[in-house]
Symmetry: D2
């Protein structure tokens, strides 16, 4: 943390400031510049509350050099986290490290028949986890708001029928009891900074799929993960789903570089949601393949039997037929990437 002091600070003020830093048991270096004085505080990856220092009268500005998150930081936890989702009578589904996972399903659970029907198809097409929204958060109060509790029941029936673990979004802390049999709890983009909810999820051991806020920096996203991790729940899966920018040709702008950046700074798995990122079914396949090539640990894709009749987000849903193609192509690219990573790096690089 670098603290720049205001110009014209008196020796008295400076001395008092130094004393306070010493009282706070901080280790620091004093730096004298031509025009300004600054202090470098050694805090490493601690949870130093820079706001306190920022507010001191002689402080002009404060810049963090180190990262503001700890538990999610790869420096504190060098090995990749692999999240395991148990499957009755079978090996668990793994996300992270060298494992790749395909999650698919409709935006909203609309009926028992719908969700079971699509789950059965998706299972044969390579999906390992079933998604389906039940508590919908919609910008407009006049839009379909989800089936609620009834939908949870339909989702669990689809799980029972197909053996696929299920993921669905939680809208509020009060709904937690209903998620007992849900395998992965999704925290949506609008709740990424619902810190009370994150703290509650930190008390569980259930995997949490933490979507990036549509206007959150990667730093903020990892701090949000820290709310869950620091509570004791290490099963966090990050999900990039597009950020808000000035571009309007797509619903959001898929920040594909977030994949390598997160893998660089954190040990947590990171998957991509190309459906929300683009908002158009026609761009889902190419963005899925790009995500695989970028090194994502998985994909979460909206699939609907009849997108025309979907009660929400039909425009960005693909059909099972399109998913079959996408899934097959993603598999081809993933194998090519594994091959490239293992073969090439060793072989060719030596020549130089």
């Amino acid at each position: 943390v670098i603290v720049t002091l205001k110009p014209h600070v008196t020796e008295k003020q400076y001395g008092d400031f130094m004393s306070r830093l010493r009282d706070m048991k901080l280790r620091f270096y004093e730096i004298d510049d031509l025009h300004s004085r600054s202090v470098s505080i050694v805090c490493g990856i601690s949870g130093l509350d820079t706001d306190m220092i920022r507010a001191m009268e002689i402080v002009e500005d404060v810049k963090r050099i180190d990262e503001p998150y700890k538990a999610a930081n790869r420096k504190c936890h060098p090995a990749d986290t692999v999240v395991e989702i148990p499957v009755a009578g079978s090996d668990p589904v793994k996300i992270g490290g060298g494992h790749f996972c395909m999650i698919a399903g409709p935006c909203s659970v609309e009926s028992e028949g719908q969700i079971i029907g699509i789950a059965e198809k998706l299972k044969t097409l390579g999906a390992r986890i079933l998604r389906g929204g039940v508590f919908k958060l919609r910008s407009s109060p006049y839009s379909f708001q989800g089936l609620g509790t009834e939908g949870i029941g339909f989702l669990l029936k689809a799980k029972a029928q197909t053996g696929l673990p299920v993921v669905t979004e939680i809208a509020d802390i009060s709904q937690l009891p209903e998620f007992e049999k849900i395998d992965v709890i999704q925290v949506g983009t609008r709740n990424m900074q619902n810190f009370l909810l994150l703290k509650e999820l930190g008390k569980l051991q259930k995997p949490v799929l933490l979507k990036r806020g549509a206007s959150s920096t990667i730093d903020e996203w990892l701090m949000a993960a820290d709310y869950i991790l620091s509570g004791g729940n290490g099963n966090v899966i990050l999900c990039e789903r597009g950020i808000r920018t000035f571009e309007t040709a797509t619903r959001n702008t898929l920040d594909i570089a977030a994949v390598p950046v997160v893998k660089d700074f954190s040990h947590l798995p990171v998957i991509v949601d190309p459906s929300h990122a683009t908002g158009y079914a026609k761009y889902v396949e190419s963005m899925s393949l790009a995500s695989v090539a970028a090194g994502a640990h998985g994909l979460i894709i909206e699939v609907h039997d009849n997108p025309e009749a979907a009660l929400s987000d039909g425009q960005q849903s693909i059909t099972p037929g399109e998913f079959a193609v996408l899934s097959k192509k993603a598999e081809i690219l993933r194998k090519a990437k594994v091959l490239a990573d293992s073969d090439v790096t060793g072989g060719i690089q030596n020549g130089f």
Copy 2:
């Protein structure tokens, strides 16, 4: 709503589409262009769910021409809404229409003495409502999280002592019972799209201060207001607090034009929070004056007796002394604006 169809639509597909629109009892116009066909659906300021239409197979794109919010729309409610906050043994505080209201107080309630002390000063300096955070939502789990319930008690003591109505932020639905004696419930920027919370607030009659999401469009903000209004609670005060952009010289970018835009499109009162918008105490005064000149119905300002020692947001808090100056200047500018608006418009404009 303008619906553009894909090229090469067959007559059969087109006929089916028309039938569906007719089934939905929509009134529409067909438009034949040189390269494309489109349909203009007459829905006015209704709650038509455009997602349904967007998902139809032959639809290329859908654009709204009308606004997506109803209850907050000035077209549906031409007169200015004036929100009244009752004051024991005195006239209510009014926000909206021709009324201007100054809200001030510390970022966080830190102790009984602190909040009562500052409330007494602020009362003499022109503040009409006292603010003070109790349930803090912080990006980092390692930062001060607020006094919680105890803080509510301190705030109510300050209210009892000074007679100033109080506003504080709610973090979660489960806290609602604690807000019984709070005069105005603040919904913070991160909860602007916490739709379940908004729905609950819609069932009350208590005034709600709805902050704009840091990355929300004005349309989304007014749709969020619709969640409260359509539930039956008409006492919504909007608060512009800066949006997230690429500029880093200030904490956020104060979207000052949101003031006239909201007044143009909605009947709701709109105030400005220059403290969060800029993040620096030194810019609070000029942004307050700019807000007054732009026509804001009020200001909400962070004031701390000793910003250096504040437990949160000290860098953007001004002192009571600075608030006294700001308050006086704001009053001078507000009077000048009232004078200008009444005198000039009538007088000079006639000459042309």
Copy 3:
């Protein structure tokens, strides 16, 4: 184009407005809504100047439904454009359609030895075109500004020595004569809307590499292309290089979805610059592979023999050794994608 009229328009005003539209020989439809009146003007993909209509007194707002660009529009030119860059004594390099092209070289040409040395290496490693900056546009006047004319000479020597065609950026119209023997003229992100320059380039037949403005929408980018195309030069190659957003973990945010969007709306080839998009050498490989998977027609990559000593942009330059690995991996992924696209789409989709 949909024109919404203000409320309370008189019949007289409406009649006058209709007459003006008729005078302008526009074909239009009148639409009566519950709360407002609007007019849909049929202009297709013409160059209708909507500003004129927007300014009319009774007009509330104007929205385009059709695209504002013509020459770059796939609707006007359905077949993919393939740009050919002649190579002395050999087949031309092709960009667009099914062709993929790797462009590489240092950010800046620094000396004759440097550029020839690196060109020779890159040629053996799969690069088909050599890049090298000569007229540098730097944010700070205190940074290295490029070798200028001398650099053009060095670049042409490298071309003569290796046979690789060369691309370099033009900074101003006055430099055009110096570009006579340059194979591809690059228009940088800051000049994307230098319309006078674009018009001059429209008079040539030389290929132009048009980088996207860091804050330009795809619509604006294609309108900029229209400046060149409508002048008669059809050899435009688009280059996505990241856009400016609030995220600071990378220099810019690579808008990877721009690749399929451009291919959807335009017939022009589109390549990606992962070096400028991310700003860090360590993310260049993954973003290159993602671009290949997304369907980009090529890559342009900064390679420097000794990035530590580079006079500009060293942090984002990779070494020839790293380029060798990247190039090999990109080739593996590209083949996998071609395989996936040909095999899968036919095969599997039929099953559904």
Copy 4:
């Protein structure tokens, strides 16, 4: 400048790095942290090219603590710059310091009669400088591109007739000779980083109105000013004109806080263009008053006799009648602000 080193740097690498810094005659401090090593380089407000350091192999990241601009920096030049524009047979117009200046005129010069007619009106209504576009830079090649050289002539006739100095935008270096008799040369938002043009303007003594790039940070804007100032031309006037954000209710987002920020960091005058910032005539007045209250040194406003018939930007132009009102109101608010600044600060603050 704080340089963070990569983890696991060897002593040898570290020693070499230190030697290089010493060779560069840099003064620096070494900082040992728990997890990382960093170096604080003392460079003050120099033009240190951080790219060079950023590229060194053992460097993880580089952050500037000091500002990257020198000539525009208030630390190097504490007193306010007041730019003077000579007026034949009269006192010069002054912009900066305590002086306020109103600039007005049509978006485009359309005919001799038009510009002279409007200039005469504006002169009586408080405008001190006449604006009028001649070389227009339009996003679409199908829009009106300005009268060019002929327009310069019309503008100079209006100057001769009224005595008002004139400002118009330059589109390219090659047009410089035509600007000989133009009083203030405007550099538009798209040319803010046309560094060759800025360097040429740095060789003159003529005042330059430097508009902020629509997606430029304030740091970049001041670096652009440095290009002109460091060439020897100290007559730079900055103009905030709105930045590009996700909000679409206005054409751009007026960054009103840029006014106090620029006044804090730089000595240069800063004015506001509310017409381009909002894009709608109906918001121009409130944003003008807000700018005055925020402390802007002036306003530049689009005024057209008949906005309906304007050849460009009619929707954001106000009429002379509206300008008369705005001008009068702005004067009232400016006087109120001067009064507030002089009276209040002294008086009240003492009480606390």
